[in-house]
Symmetry: C2
Subunit: 199 residues, 2 copies
């Protein structure tokens, strides 16, 4: 059985849980508290030298890290990943957008404010994160203004990856009121069969 | 013919140029100076709403953004991307590692110091970047201590992606003296057929 090393409040972990639910694949979840350094122990570092969750143990002793690489691995052959190579590359385009232009601002703001509870300590850094987070949301809003989903007008792992932290962006201090297309898309994603919430 | 929107000092652009060279695929290069806002014009934003290079025009009016998605797109069916799905996913794991844990620290430090020439203005931010950049290099060093390349003991797009900014890490103030396995790997990458330099 697949084993997922995970941390429940993590949006990166949630991406994988959501896809596994929608694929109907059973898995064992191992909770590690990143706030207590449980991903920086010698034992865990022997599994993932980068010391991060989520980490998927695909078979005993074989590990795959990086949430979006895990989504790609699990969705092969399913409705959630196009077969066409250009469309598949477009899915990856949005996955890289998510990790480079979205997650570092929207997820990190949420982590500081709602998980660590340290918005005062991080006030200046949050200001910088805010501008770049809104820039990412603006790119999404523009795209979703004329598309139902991110790629090929159907629900793929690109939507799963971008949904994870966008639907809790308010926990990072982002106001989505001015993003109507994003709000419509969030509701569309929640209506997909076998959708599950974050925790 | 493929058209690449590019900026010569960009390591992300260089990744694509290097792969195209090694694939022997001719392409037209369109230079845009990001320092002069040439990727933020309405015309360019209509091609890539995220306003970044590299951007590949795969056929007239069809665009693919994100350097590592472009590497994936171009390497399909070549020796630079494994066919095996797990190995392919491991390549993606390293590509996401590069964009999330490596590029934001090592490439951004280089940008501030060697391209903008503003190391004094960014002194505090560079200090933070330094620690996380060395953490990424340490993960690479550990892996390369027992592997010739990042995946499957052969040269893939994972090596191309990680080579791009690692081989100019000194331009961002990083000292690679303590990373012997990385240095050996850098030389190994440079010896690959049809290798080209950055500029």
């Amino acid at each position: 059985m697949l084993r997922l090393y995970d941390f429940l409040p993590s949006g990166n972990g949630y991406k994988v849980r959501l896809l596994l639910s929608q694929l109907g694949i059973p898995f064992e979840r191992v909770e590690l508290n990143i706030l207590k350094g449980e991903t920086r122990t010698p034992e865990f570092l022997s599994k993932n030298p980068n010391g991060r969750i989520p980490l998927l143990e695909t078979q005993p002793g074989q590990f795959l890290a990086e949430s979006n690489a895990i989504l790609f691995y699990l969705s092969e052959g399913s409705q959630f990943l196009p077969n066409d190579h250009f469309l598949r590359s477009k899915v990856l385009q949005w996955l890289f957008f998510e990790q480079y232009s979205h997650e570092p601002y929207i997820a990190t703001s949420r982590f500081w404010i709602s998980i660590l509870g340290k918005s005062a300590e991080y006030r200046d850094a949050l200001e910088q994160k805010r501008e770049l987070g809104y820039a990412a949301l603006t790119v999404m809003e523009k795209h979703l203004g004329s598309h139902t989903f991110f790629v090929d007008e159907r629900y793929t792992i690109a939507d799963i990856a971008l949904f994870a932290y966008t639907h809790v962006a308010h926990e990072g201090g982002f106001n989505l009121t001015e993003f109507p297309a994003i709000n419509t898309w969030l509701e569309r994603v929640k209506l997909q069969p076998l959708h599950i919430g974050m925790t």
